[in-house]
Symmetry: C2
Amino acid sequence: MKVFRFCLALMGLAALPMAALADIADQVTDFTLDNGLQVVVIEDHRAPVVVHMLWYRAGSADETAGVSGVAHFLEHLLFKQTKTLAAGEFSRVVAENGGSDNAFTSTDFTAYFQRVAADRLDLMMRMEADRMMNLDLSEEDILTEREVIIEERNQRVENSPGALFREQSNAALYLNHRYGVPVIGWRHEMEKLSLSDALAFYRRYYAPNNAVLVVAGDVLPDEVREMAVKNYGSLPANPDLHPRARPQEPPQIAARRLTYRDERVAQPYITRNYLAPERDPGDQSTAAALSLLADILGGGQTSVLTQKLQFETSTAVYSAAFYDGLSLDDSNFGFVVVPSADVTLQAAEDALDQALAGFLETGVDLAQLDRIKTQFAASEIYARDNVQGLANSYGAALTSGLELADIHAWPAAVQAVSPEDIMSAAKELLNEERSVTGWLMKPEEEAE
Amino acid sequence: MKVFRFCLALMGLAALPMAALADIADQVTDFTLDNGLQVVVIEDHRAPVVVHMLWYRAGSADETAGVSGVAHFLEHLLFKQTKTLAAGEFSRVVAENGGSDNAFTSTDFTAYFQRVAADRLDLMMRMEADRMMNLDLSEEDILTEREVIIEERNQRVENSPGALFREQSNAALYLNHRYGVPVIGWRHEMEKLSLSDALAFYRRYYAPNNAVLVVAGDVLPDEVREMAVKNYGSLPANPDLHPRARPQEPPQIAARRLTYRDERVAQPYITRNYLAPERDPGDQSTAAALSLLADILGGGQTSVLTQKLQFETSTAVYSAAFYDGLSLDDSNFGFVVVPSADVTLQAAEDALDQALAGFLETGVDLAQLDRIKTQFAASEIYARDNVQGLANSYGAALTSGLELADIHAWPAAVQAVSPEDIMSAAKELLNEERSVTGWLMKPEEEAE
């Protein structure tokens, strides 16, 4: 029942509608409880509904080496028994109250959410606060739920050549950082995940001073505060919580390539991934330029790659660029090119390189940039309509190293990007030494 | 003053003379103290000299993520002040007694040794036992010695394109295991190594139940036992020591390539590294076959690569194969080909692939295999002459996951390898999906 978003996140398809947040700052209230729980309230009184999300600043990249997958495993286990709720009772109560609930894990966060009628908020808080502290796991839970996550890996990764390919490519992109390890975990490590592994992660990271509560919908800040104090206020902070510091990348000085061959590949393609800077607090301008660059190069019908590789030369049947700047540490900027029939992967790669080199020479098309900025501004407006999307945006940003001020500054940061900023970011980015080029193909295919 | 062996170990040039140990088992006595300290005595009464080595089952691959280099850093720091010795006093006392001392760090172990007149053994034990427990480090020590190891990295790695290339290639070979992290450390992590990082490693791993004492030379087992009990016997075991289990590799399913370009490259070359099984306790037959395979393919003038690439075609000016089976976890089997003038790296790589494919078809030359086995047996005999080499062999093996019985079984395991064993090991090994191919070249050179 849990949505598992890492595939989307890795592919950059889950770009959050951060754009809409510039002018809605006055809908947003934030405060922090004495135990360190950060609370963000987003008011939207159009319908008597509320989204209650609890975000932990703990994702797969916060795991200890050797227990990959434990962040996601624990996410599953949080639906088991607590000292006051039976296994499965949480979701049953939500459903009985007409709501829906879910959870997801990424490299930088784990989040739990419910969408219910606004008058059920207190109940949600009570149950969510309960499982932050009172999880009561048994060895039996470990055995059964471990089978579930392994089966999840089977379905999402082992059965998908593209997912296996991404996993190996991602491992090659990161030389030192845990972003190279899959969120769902390496299978051989998942098979050994134990009760003590899960509890160690739980005790280390599940605490009010490592969480962000986002409540969005038909609520008033004062009532949320009162309710939050009542339900979450008495939970003890973890006094041993350390600042979030993961192993960082060394200088990447050697261009990497990899080839994954699999019988099940229906359509071969190439990818290119570059290590790329992420949005940092108070310093989002490079990431803003890269976001626009991704749209310029591979964001739709008028993009550089689509024009060059699909319309002008018929080299590719599909091409795209993606970048997700929402990341605690260095992110990636990627390309995919799916060649047309009879076009080799080498020819597709050469065409990509030529298109990029051509772009670096000719620069940004000003009309295209204007169009993209306008679309971006429009998406800000539309995003306000989706209260759950807004809650998601705030939670993800606040658990990925950003502050509220950064969220609100982002739309202006994007509009402020100049063509020169984009070219400068592109030149810095497109350094093959910090890249991995991947070929996905059938076993029998010749490389050239 | 410390010899730093990781470069040698990675290149396989420091192949230890394990061969000589089959028939000398009766020179070897081993016992374990009550506190868990394993002691190995190797008698050699030809000269009144003794080698005293203390080996810890703790190397760079036992480090926590983010503090790379701390194992080697601590090795340096062990020459600082203890509660009873001033900084530098240890080595001064050794020298004043006519001896020499040194230390080295690898992925799987850290070792300290002295070579002195046999009647100074008690003094060596007293000082070595002292620094196992009584290190008395200051912030000042950290600051000064950190500069030393960073300078060591400058000299050994930053100033050497080949070393930088190996580092990046090694990081690409291992997707999950800490063997992908350099023994000396990533520079950006070395710069942050702190007193608490060093002490954490020291307290976790420096204990009698995590160490092997090797005493070799003009000594009798009983006197060593008595002296060891006296000096080491009262040191407390670490009750929290866990079995040694590091994160292992996931299935490697995508062949990797990398190119490192550097102005300082005088001679471009290619390398190919395959993930390879290591010697395991009670199971050394595959590693024995791989050891012979390395000699057959690239171990000198009559090897396959030298014949094909140098004598028959003049493609290469140098070629070699290397494999070091002494490793706690999966090791690597590597090739290097240095092309002749006017031969491209692509042509050199193609020639390597052709030579390997040809070998897989034609199989082992029986006369060559006999010659190599005879040389191997001869090296067993010669190795006995070098008491320090013997001590080294035992210490390295016993801290790399092997037992005494494995050391003594190794020469016979090598002699028992059949041509079929070698071909079977070669076919299993030479799987491009578990390989990294590296090109080292000047910036301006064209790849093809």
